[in-house]
Symmetry: C2
């Protein structure tokens, strides 16, 4: 008997318009050829599928699935102060764990294998990620309002966890100073020093609203971009979510520094904070990834939708159907999004991390299949995705994530507990809506 | 033995936050109660589902599924002249039949039970609609470029078919004068006379581009809206697709006449023709339905996506998250869309036509289920829809339309034939792209 040559072999799958065999060894693509010789521990017949790169979500708050649809359609400050913040005050670690697992199931169904997360109780997020086989950059959240004691704890947590390997390298720890209006310069500078020392991602909100820019000028005499530059945080390992309100000079600076801008088109529109100018960012040479933001504002975690919405709104904004072609926005959600967060994935190519989707060639909305890349941006939905491979492992097959029924029902339970706690809090006289 | 009281009975299904039994007799909801007594020819256990209204697509060209993704991301005139028109010149009746069946499968999967269609070879569309159990208003297309002979044939076809009942009343015939730049006043006036006589829908494109309005002023000395008014076509049975470029006075006139405006948010953005001002249309009191347009420009037929895109772009355009609330845009896609096209559906209520969706309560992206209506607009996709009921009949169950594998493969074949014909035409020297 021969030893197994590969761990996973997908036979006769459509790749770039041709039938190929795709072999995976460990967590990387080992061999892609018309016919891969040898055997494998597991073989998938790819005849019914195309193999395509999966999606990398550049900005989210995963556990906020529990707040999906809560306080919709309210003015921004009412939504935040009367709905989101009071509800978040009722979240327990178990709710966050359950909400994050729900988020991961939703992400896998819609083809996402990585998320750049910023949320509380990071140990719960790690647990959920380890169990379900997805990748994540998990940000240790820093805000001055936490107070010195909790900031020191968070810093210690980062220093302890940041150096270790988690989940076979699928989890990286990031620093997540929340935003320039919640984090002071000393704390940003500490992040910059840690980033210098460890090479970690720094994940922050930047220029999400016009108000943020005005207030920053008033408080600091500089714009938010200039403030981050002054703190030493504009570099290729910093991921700035939103970046809606930028001047041309700021775009040029961000491009020169190779800072990653994460475009969250659905959240920006739903909260009506302004429109990220994708065309201008590309023209300036900025690195752009795509994100969904959290479910409280997005209201889902579907990167397919984010691609389509980014493309359509860019065309509408420019009044030109020829801007933002499908292949460009597709690259943002796949290989450029992966690279932006330091993940060597997003391409079906030998040597790269073995992350992939098998999409059903018989999906009605993928016909005619000859324009597949366009369809993945403009017509596909989660029903087209059969199988998700992350880090060389099959994490969803036949549109089913193992254990998903229980994950969904436990998240539903957690949501019931949460809204009961919110109601109790309201009954006790705190100013919250149910 | 007792006679069967009802034809279809859905037991213990979630409706408006309560568990109910929903009984259908013939093609109408007969009884909705906590417990419906008696028996039924067919019983569905609704425990895992919520029952909600389905969607009514106000404007499409169904058979254009075969052109999905073809010539994407080109300037508008290049897209039309070098891709779409030459390809359409190669379409055969069989391709149109197969493309329409593919469209219907896609529509059923995404919860649509009615489409207002404007395309060639209407006999093929009727056949597809009759077979698959969906509803449609099928427009007999009129353009002056057809020439007198073919116009007379089309007029005769309308006069023959318009008076008959098709598919148990699921099919109505409409008149579809294409647009003010392709149809002269005499032909519009003929449509107005036929509409007066028969009460039929008149379905036309209106004010889709700024150019159309400019050219109309130059050619006729009036705007497109004024031209239709002059021809006697502004009334509650006229459905105007797009209506992007309107003045406040025109909105007031269209509201007074109760003319239906169909907002096609995805197509408008993809072709960058301008943004329909949904907020202004509602404020003026206009009737608004939602549509997808054809797959060549939309690029799918998913009304869920159209709802979400309409809501998000309205919020972004106004810079206010509190405009275009979920329930308002949901009404446009359901009961208002149905009424707009003269269909007595879109509500789960006794006496109404029995059109409904059963959505899966265990769908990850419908959690927490308490905000279901918001989720149907902002988070659901076709994977959430299990069962579609149209005109009292189950036309999709378990996410499967009977015969869909064959429908998809025959449509794929038709697309291959089409693109081969396009290539032949190009090789023969005609100026077309492949």
């Amino acid at each position: 008997m021969h030893a197994q040559t590969h761990d996973l072999l997908i036979r006769n799958v459509l790749l770039g318009g041709r039938r190929r065999d795709v072999a995976i060894a460990g967590n990387r693509f080992a061999c892609i050829a018309d016919r891969v010789p040898g055997d494998a521990s597991r073989v998938i017949d790819g005849t019914s599928f195309a193999i395509v790169p999966p999606y990398y979500n550049g900005h989210t708050h995963a556990a906020m699935t529990l707040l999906r649809g809560y306080g919709d359609d309210r003015p921004l400050d009412v939504w935040l102060r009367k709905y989101i913040w009071p509800a978040e005050a009722c979240l327990t670690p178990r709710m966050i764990y359950r909400g994050t697992r729900l988020a991961i199931v939703e992400m896998l169904h819609s083809g996402t294998v990585f998320f750049n997360d910023m949320y509380w109780e990071q140990a719960e997020t790690v647990r959920a990620v380890e169990e379900l086989g997805i990748r994540a950059a998990i940000g240790v959240v820093l805000l001055n309002v936490l107070g010195e004691q909790r900031i020191r704890e968070a810093q210690a947590r980062f220093q302890e966890w940041g150096g270790a390997t988690h989940a076979n390298g699928r989890v990286q720890f990031a620093l997540a100073p929340h935003a320039i209006y919640t984090v002071d310069e000393a704390l940003f500078r500490w992040c910059a020093r840690m980033q210098d020392r460890t090479g970690c991602l720094v994940h922050t909100h930047l220029c999400e609203t016009a108000r943020e820019v005005l207030d920053c000028r008033e408080a600091h005499g500089v714009t938010p971009v200039e403030l981050l530059e002054r703190c030493g945080l504009l570099n290729g390992r910093t991921v700035a979510a939103h970046a809606v309100h930028l001047t041309p000079a700021e775009r040029a600076l961000l491009a020169a520094r190779q800072t990653v801008l994460v475009h969250n088109p659905c959240s920006n529109s739903k909260l009506a904070v302004g429109c990220f100018d994708l065309t201008a960012a590309w023209q300036a040479g900025c690195r752009v990834a795509l994100g969904t933001d959290g479910c409280a504002s997005s209201n889902d975690l579907d990167m397919g939708y984010a691609m389509r919405f980014a493309a359509l709104t860019a065309k509408a904004a420019q009044g030109r159907p020829d801007v933002c072609p499908a292949e460009r926005v597709y690259a943002c959600a796949t290989r450029e999004g992966a690279r932006a967060c330091g993940v060597d994935g997003g391409e079906i190519a030998e040597g790269h991390l073995a992350d992939a989707l098998l999409v059903r060639l018989d999906s009605p909305r993928l016909q005619p299949i000859r324009h597949l890349e366009s369809h993945l941006v403009h017509a596909a939905d989660s029903a087209c995705i059969d199988t998700v491979i992350c880090d060389g492992r099959v994490v969803m097959q036949g549109r089913r994530v193992p254990g998903e029924e229980r994950i969904v029902s436990e998240a539903a339970e957690a949501a019931e507990e949460l809204y009961a706690a919110v109601a109790d809090r309201a009954a006790s006289g705190a100013n919250v809506h149910r």
